[in-house]
């Protein structure tokens, strides 16, 4: 297990960067997987987005100068990839003639979703939020990420992130109240 500083230094050394990147993948893949999975919800999609995240990171390694933490850099790529995936999925679904069974119903039929109906409804409520509110809610509610760290990942002011979280919480509680 390497420290963030050690890995940053190794990643900038052309002779050792592949080995260092392998260590990065080993150290961060599980954490990143869960960030992505909470965004895209389906395991196979999360796996694809995770692989793309690491490929983007590897191909963009020259742009990583070690000024931010490795986890911050990777989280930023993972979130951008997830949001990009969701946008493409939304436009594909808008063009599809298939009837949408509703997200909560789809989740309840997913073999890799073990949650209750209420948990599926929460995911449906989250999926209806705009991209930024959705991302902020996931990072704050499920990952307890501090606003200062979130601000570095999303390159947005803390004030704006707090406002997004407050709005997201209000919309989700209204969603539940409307389903009572």
């Amino acid at each position: 297990m390497y420290s963030d500083e050690e890995l940053s230094a190794l990643l900038r050394n052309p002779e050792r960067q592949r080995k260092a990147f392998e260590a990065v993948v080993q150290q961060y893949s599980e954490q990143l997987y869960w960030t992505i999975r909470r965004m895209v919800l389906v395991h196979d999609d999360a796996n694809d987005v995770l692989q793309n995240t690491f490929l983007k990171a590897w191909n963009g390694l020259s742009a990583f100068h070690g000024d931010s933490k490795i986890s911050t850099w990777l989280s930023r790529i993972a979130i951008n990839e997830s949001v990009d995936f969701l946008r493409k999925q939304k436009s594909r679904m808008a063009m599809s003639a298939d009837e949408d069974p509703g997200l909560a119903n789809s989740l309840m039929a997913d073999p890799y979703f073990d949650g209750s109906e209420t948990q599926a409804l929460l995911q449906e409520a989250i999926s209806r939020l705009p991209d930024v509110q959705r991302t902020v809610f996931q990072l704050r509610y499920f990952e307890d990420m501090k606003y200062s760290e979130m601000s570095r990942v999303l390159k947005t002011s803390e004030g704006s992130l707090k406002a997004s979280y407050h709005i997201a919480v209000k919309k989700i509680s209204d969603f539940f109240k409307s389903h009572d």
């Binding site: 993948v25 690491f54 890799y112 539940f176």
Partner: protein
């Protein structure tokens, strides 16, 4: 402001009480054990970014064409400038005007062909 903060905390508590924060998702068995090696296999199979030299080779005929067009523009511009402003205009001014006109035409041609100065310098300084 404090009232809004309190409202938000109440709404958040409502969601926590109702749903909790447990992770409802799971992964196929052994997924994380093979994940790193699968990612590295894709990384190793990924194409390296195309080297800049290859682009210069491809651009070389285009650059030669651009250079010829520029030379023609400069010749025409110089001829027009000298013939329309006879003896009254000092030679230095005529040369300056012709040079500016030539530079403008050159820039236009370079923009059209989407080549930048670096590409042109690289081409001119290459062994070919």
């Amino acid at each position: 402001m404090q009232v809004r903060q309190k409202d938000m905390m109440n709404e958040e508590k409502y969601i926590i009480d109702r749903v909790g924060k447990e992770n409802p998702f799971r992964v196929p068995e052994g997924y994380f054990d093979s994940l790193a090696s699968e990612v590295m296999a894709r990384v190793d199979a990924s194409e390296a970014p195309a080297p800049r030299k290859a682009r210069q080779v491809w651009l070389r005929p285009v650059l030669y064409a651009a250079a010829s067009v520029c030379a023609l523009f400069i010749s025409v511009a110089a001829y027009q400038s000298f013939s329309s402003q006879p003896s009254a205009t000092p030679v230095a001014q005529q040369v300056e005007a012709a040079t500016h006109q030539g530079e403008d035409s050159f820039d236009e041609a370079a923009d059209y062909l989407m080549v930048d100065n670096q590409d042109i310098y690289a081409c001119l300084s290459s062994d070919y």
